[in-house]
């Protein structure tokens, strides 16, 4: 049992547990916290796979910005615990088994899609520089496109959330 195997199981376990908590907890804030935990755990897993920068971004953007937005909105709307209502028929008879089936199949597929041989890139030290080069050379057009997407999203959010005078 090597060190990163241990770390994998620890943090993978944390991630799954937090995800379950996200579903079971009844108050949106608690769910949000659970999700943040998931993200942090995932960041560690990224580190384990040598994707340092992705890990950092994961924390900064996901946990640090997006989830803050969620928490902010929850606080703003002062959301209450969600009340019990019976599941909708479709959800009950369809959702549960299908979700399980889906998970199983996905797990099977990816398990087989990934050949067992360990990675060549595991030992790579500095991934940030090549990553940047790739992002700004090969993917520069999509990159700029995403910036436009963001811009549009900002405008949309503004227009939607503005209080009508």
């Amino acid at each position: 049992m090597t060190l990163d195997a241990v770390l994998f199981f620890v943090f993978g376990g944390i991630a799954v547990a937090a995800a379950v908590a996200l579903i079971l907890l009844r108050h949106p804030i608690h769910s949000a916290l659970a999700l943040i935990v998931v993200m942090a755990a995932l960041a560690v897993l990224y580190l384990l796979q040598g994707a340092e920068f992705v890990a950092a971004v994961q924390i900064i953007v996901y946990a640090g910005a997006i989830m803050v937005l969620f928490v902010f909105v929850i606080m703003l709307l002062n959301a209450a615990r969600e009340e019990r209502t019976n599941l909708s028929r479709a959800a009950r008879y369809l959702g549960v088994p299908v979700a399980v089936l889906l998970t199983a199949e996905l797990a099977y597929l990816v398990w087989h899609a990934s050949s067992a041989n360990p990675s060549q890139a595991a030992g790579r030290t500095d991934v940030t520089r090549p990553l940047a080069l790739m992002l700004f050379r090969d993917f520069v057009f999509p990159f700029e496109l995403t910036s436009i997407v963001i811009l549009i999203a900002i405008l949309g959010a503004l227009v939607l959330a503005r209080k009508e005078p």
Partner: protein
């Protein structure tokens, strides 16, 4: 640590996201389950990129994160509107789309 383990983990997380998506009633929480699914996908992408020794996977993670940010902004704005207009965050109160 072979990539398949990471992939399996991501599949499980994705499944949990799906379950949350179907079962939660609070719109915000449903939205969060979607984020969970996105995260699962990111994990898969990173795992693949490590296994293939290619960085494209990580680049795509960036794009996913960007899109997630945009989606969060707009989605939360919409949720804000819903909450404002019908004083409730329960999806079952938002069902005007039926005939």
């Amino acid at each position: 640590m072979p990539a398949s383990w990471y992939l399996a983990l991501s599949a499980i997380l994705f499944g949990l996201g799906v379950v949350g998506f179907v079962f939660k009633r609070n719109i915000i929480t449903i939205f969060m389950s979607i984020e969970l699914m996105l995260n699962a996908v990111n994990l898969a992408l990173v795992a693949f990129s490590r296994q293939l020794g290619e960085l494209q996977g990580q680049v795509f993670v960036f794009f996913v994160i960007v899109v997630a940010a945009a989606e969060a902004a707009v989605g939360l704005a919409i949720i804000l509107l819903i909450a404002r207009n019908r004083q409730s965050l329960n999806v079952e109160d938002v069902d005007l789309l039926k005939l």
